[in-house]
Symmetry: C2
Subunit: 712 residues, 2 copies
């Protein structure tokens, strides 16, 4: 379920690897000293870059001008220390005794694993009546950001090599060294973060808390009410909440800083801040990168989702159990489709793209105005554009010279073929996944039994071949190998019917037989995989080289941006702590107005609208205890804050630093903010603080917890 | 309010004039006998033509195949006789004692005018406690369709002339003669209706009831809850209901046929029929006509709405009372913008247009397969396309050589100028509006005082000039007259400041002075209007000629369609009785699913969402009596039936002919069904029958009326 639901957490894991990935990246040119920006006209806030501000560069002037609000350093420090990070989400201290508030989907693993054998807290919900009943969350930790320090000069100074490989190794070494030193000196968890795509480097120091316990989690049916259909949308009726508690030495931890509870919660048009760890944005992408996504990559992804959904629909027609069996896959694909459609919508919006284009021209003009900057960065946009254009020339080949969409048999065959050839090479010249323990791990997996759904395999391969046929020239070697004069359906059926790759014993015999056995095999899937292998190697190598050029030049552009604008623009998201300003505000939707908030009335409305059918079914407690509730209590609300995957569980606070809500999603209109931020219709969706205390008191016998939150 | 709200009634009045307008239309070629369709391949149901079936050609085979339902003639006669027409809406008999159900906005005039001097039933609602309290609706009548008879041969036979003018006069004469004869013979109200754009003619005979009384109408705040923002949308929470009663000889009329009340009301996925009088559709428009609308006319209209809204916004900035003063105008423009955006959305949908294009090719192929048909109709599409293309060449001129958008001063000046010249001509050669009593009526109006909002006049003229400047070539004579080297703002300010046309005495002096006074006037607005006059005459005459060609060829295409398909396709709407099949069904919306129904929970939710602010404010009774209600009662619902303006107040019935709902709107997605019908997302929005009885009993002390509806 996590993958299908979590725009806010799915990207966070990947993003948490940003710094180390960055240090592996190839850089084609040696970094140089960036000249001062004083010669350039003053840089100001650009709304399309959003509002994910770092705590060491809060935009005090912009806040003062926009909201007549300028928090002091004490306010900023307090808010920073009250905000914490989970392995893939955000959270906050919300009581003097260490209560931590986050989303239901962020605490899901703990909620599931702490259920006793005869019970399932995911289905039933859980609320600890006493401290003693709070359940240890195995493996869960909470990181609190203690300080940020710039290490840009030290990182740059250490990179003296001339080749990309030398530079990458030097960067990796200095990053490790800084992190280790920091850890030894401070006993804190330290991470070097690269901001502005390499524009600056900072070390983030965290205090880690390892004793975290489950205090309260509602039923998943109420936390994720409306399920995948309502995911990414608003109006919304979700209590997406988990309450945890940090312990120290077996006792509730008393944090120096925690967020107090607001008496009234979020109000219409109120200034609010979201404090959390957004995972990854692409706002520094160039126009040519965005165009590639818009015109090549996303349409191809969407077509693939369409094909997958068609196949599931086809299977459901002939097999009554298939609909249930594939339900999670269907939801997963449908949600990816929603997200990518949203990303692309932003890029298709001509006004947004015009804004972006104007910015790119302005940045280029700022660079061009300074000969030193122009010499270093002037050519980067063209270099990226050329690489993207070249990539486009063989993009269909790159996509189809692969291993059959989401099938199982062909990728297994391909891996067997490749293990046979790669294992004969010295480790250092193998393809990356086949180095080190790679081959051993793959071999172990390949010899395990795996269920094979032959109907799915056949339809999916056929769909893939059909799509290839429509996009590749008739003379294409892949098509010759795949079809050999047959129709896509015939070809796929022949492959799936004829192969023994589904049999683990057969796979084992090939793996044991090595290159000789693989070369001699007449199994049709092995023959096909053998044929694709060289095609795939050629296009992949070519694409990797182009992508390295794009990455290297993207880093240059990040440096150029920082040189030209400094911290006037927030950096792209890096799953590190940011503070985003916004206001509570409805939005135009579907010909009318979406309100700024919903209430519990709407929960009962939406359930009744669908005759209480799944995923609009209410948990029993919400039916039997309905009359306890004040139905007009605010439930969920929307605001213009700037969030993305990783922000799940972020607190929403008011000017006084008090909790008014709990972020759990973005509306579908906000998904396009990934590349170009706009507050026109995109919104952050949060649980209202009043819904949390109302539900705790009236539904979950949680007066103890509500009192603690409200400081009573 | 009527204009701003009523997609379902706005078009009905115009549509009610269809037959007479049609008989005035110019036809360039003589009608010929249409050959039998038996030589053509069988024609079948085409979903894009919708489901507005006439009662003399119900699609029994299609219904049987699709729903396994084939009503007998008795069912059809019963349903037809239970359905009635109001002057601009639809309605139905729903009790043995003559209760008539229609929409609140259809009975609005009666509700308003029957309020006693110290009361306003629009605001307070009204429910007659006894028969004696029912209030006479002055001037309101209901028409009940008694029979339909084809008169195609008789109309065609009477048209023997060779010129368009002769044919139009002959058609008009025979239509009048048939209507008069019918009325004399039957004592019924008779109307000759032209279906399929002249493909066939039928006489519709109505029994008219003139004693109609108001029984019950809720508060407008609940009938039109959500106001203009929610208009054309779903989910929806409106009790858009008026109950009337037909009297005969001072006693409640006992109709031979009335619709019984369904016990359960509309259920999900249930087959339902809408029986009513759709006003006007454009599904027989050719591709070139649709393209003209899509690419020329609608974009121009939308730009004009945008300009108007910008002006209102600008006025509201400097004048705090302006926002309130212009509120109705703003809503009106915003709703037109919604509707036209919807119409255009359908034409922008490439899949819909591909369907339409395929149909046009199929129809052309059917025509081409028969030499006689080909000779008569083969050239019509090209003739229309040529005319549209020529119209496009001077379309900006046609729009700007006019009289200043929605201003007051320039149109008055223009009328004064034109009266001066037209009054000197013989009546028969004058421009049409200036014939007969035209000039006398205009003169009377022009001498009355009219409030002039100079700030609005100035901004609106300036916006018009600015738009003209951007669309017309720099050398255009209109621009020279309007601007004469000044900026649009300067030019507009000079005109409005300098003119005395706002003064009724000044207007009277010019009208009295006639051509001499007008020619001698140096008033800048008169000078400007004098300059535009010949420009306007030239482009208007040219456009009229092209439109006559389009009209004449459109009639041919209607005949061709009927020749090729007969009644397998329903004719375009003509504000006459139709029966449309559909199913109760939610739809994909904004990334999630819109349910098939709402409940009273949702009413309280939406009101609470907006903190009970207008237009989401609940009438007092709905606050104080809330606990009386079963909040889970179905309130509004959606179905795939095919409706348009004129269908307001139509009953929704089930297979048993029982009332399950009351049509009151289309969702915004359904607005595009005007040209190409689709059930993908377009929906008919109705009040659920259970909401009506629940509200009557629990809110309006209307047990008497609910019992009567439910036959208790």
């Amino acid at each position: 379920m996590l993958t299908s639901r979590s725009i806010l957490s799915a990207l966070a894991l990947a993003a948490s690897l940003v710094a180390s990935t960055r240090s592996d990246a190839q850089t084609a040119t040696a970094p140089r000293q960036v000249s001062a920006t004083s010669q350039l006209p003053p840089a100001t806030y650009r709304p399309e870059f959003g509002t994910m501000w770092t705590f060491d560069a809060p935009p005090l002037d912009y806040w003062r001008k926009t909201y007549n609000f300028a928090p002091d350093q004490k306010w900023l420090d307090h808010v920073r220390l009250a905000s914490v990070r989970l392995p893939n989400c955000s959270a906050s201290f919300v009581s003097a005794r260490g209560l931590v508030m986050t989303n239901h989907h962020c605490g899901r693993e703990c909620t599931a694993s702490s259920s006793p054998p005869d019970s399932n807290y995911i289905a039933t919900g859980f609320s600890a009546g006493t401290l003693a009943n709070e359940k240890k969350c195995a493996g869960l930790y909470v990181d609190q950001l203690q300080s940020i320090q710039s290490v840009t000069d030290r990182v740059r100074g250490a990179i003296t090599g001339r080749t990309a490989a030398e530079q990458a190794a030097q960067r990796s070494a200095i990053v490790s060294q800084i992190e280790t030193e920091c850890n030894q000196q401070t006993q804190l968890t330290c991470q070097v973060v690269s901001l502005y795509q390499g524009g600056i480097y900072s070390v983030y120091r965290y205090r880690r808390f390892n004793d975290v316990r489950l205090v309260m989690a509602p039923e998943e049916d109420i936390a994720f009410f409306g399920g995948d259909p309502d995911n990414f949308t608003f109006p919304r009726y979700d209590l997406d909440l988990t309450l945890l508690r940090v312990y120290e030495n077996g006792q509730p931890y008393a944090p120096t800083d925690y967020l107090k509870w607001s008496a009234g919660g979020a109000g219409d048009n109120e200034l609010v801040f979201v404090v959390g760890n957004p995972g990854s944005t692409g706002r520094l992408n160039t126009i040519s990168q965005m165009e590639f996504l818009r015109d090549r990559q996303y349409p191809a992804q969407l077509a693939a989702y369409r094909r997958a959904l068609d196949i599931y629909a086809q299977l459901a027609k002939t097999d009554t159990s298939a609909a249930r069996r594939y339900q999670n896959d269907v939801f997963g694909v449908a949600n990816s489709q929603k997200a990518v459609t949203g990303y692309r919508a932003g890029l298709l919006d001509t006004a947004s793209m015009a804004t972006k284009r104007a910015f790119e021209r302005e940045l280029q003009a700022r660079i061009a105005a300074n000969p030193a900057l122009q010499a270093q960065y002037g050519g980067t946009w063209d270099a990226i554009s050329r690489a993207e254009n070249e990539l486009a020339t063989f993009y269909p080949q790159l996509r189809y010279y692969g291993y059959g969409g989401n099938t199982t048999l062909l990728p297994m065959a391909a891996q067997i073929v490749r293990i046979a050839s790669e294992s004969g090479k010295p480790d250092s010249v193998r393809l990356a996944p086949y180095r080190g323990q790679g081959i051993a791990q793959m071999t172990a997996r390949l010899t395990q039994p795996v269920p094979i759904d032959t109907a799915y395999e056949r339809l999916s391969l056929a769909a893939q071949f059909r799509a290839a046929q429509s996009e590749l020239p008739a003379s294409d070697p892949f098509l010759r190998l795949a079809l050999n004069g047959r129709s896509p359906d015939e070809a796929a059926a022949t492959l799936v019917r004829g192969t023994r790759v589904g049999d683990p014993a057969f796979r084992q015999s090939l793996l044991q037989g090595g290159a000789v056995a693989v070369a001699a095999s007449t199994d049709p899937m092995i023959v096909f995989a053998r044929g694709i292998d060289p095609l795939n190697r050629t296009v992949t190598a070519r694409a990797n080289a182009l992508n390295a050029t794009i990455t290297a030049n993207s880093e240059e552009i990040g440096q150029a941006l920082f040189a030209a604008y400094g911290t006037a623009l927030p950096p792209d998201a890096t799953f590190t702590l940011r503070i985003s300003d916004g206001v509570v505000k409805g939005f135009p939707m579907n010909g009318t107005i979406a309100p700024y908030k919903t209430t519990f009335y709407g929960l009962y409305e939406r359930s009744a609208d669908f005759d209480d059918k799944d995923p609009f079914k209410l948990p029993e407690r919400w039916v039997t205890r309905k009359n306890n509730l004040d139905l007009s209590t605010p439930y969920d609300f929307v605001s213009t804050n700037d969030i993305i995957g990783g922000n799940s569980g972020s607190p929403v606070i008011n000017r006084n630093g008090e909790v008014v809500g709990l972020v759990f999603d973005s509306n579908i209109e906000g998904v396009s903010n990934r590349f170009i931020f706009s507050t026109a219709v995109g919104r952050t969706v949060s649980v209202h603080s009043r819904a949390i205390t109302e539900a705790l008191r009236k539904m979950y016998d949680g007066g103890r917890i509500a009192d603690e939150l409200q400081g009573r």
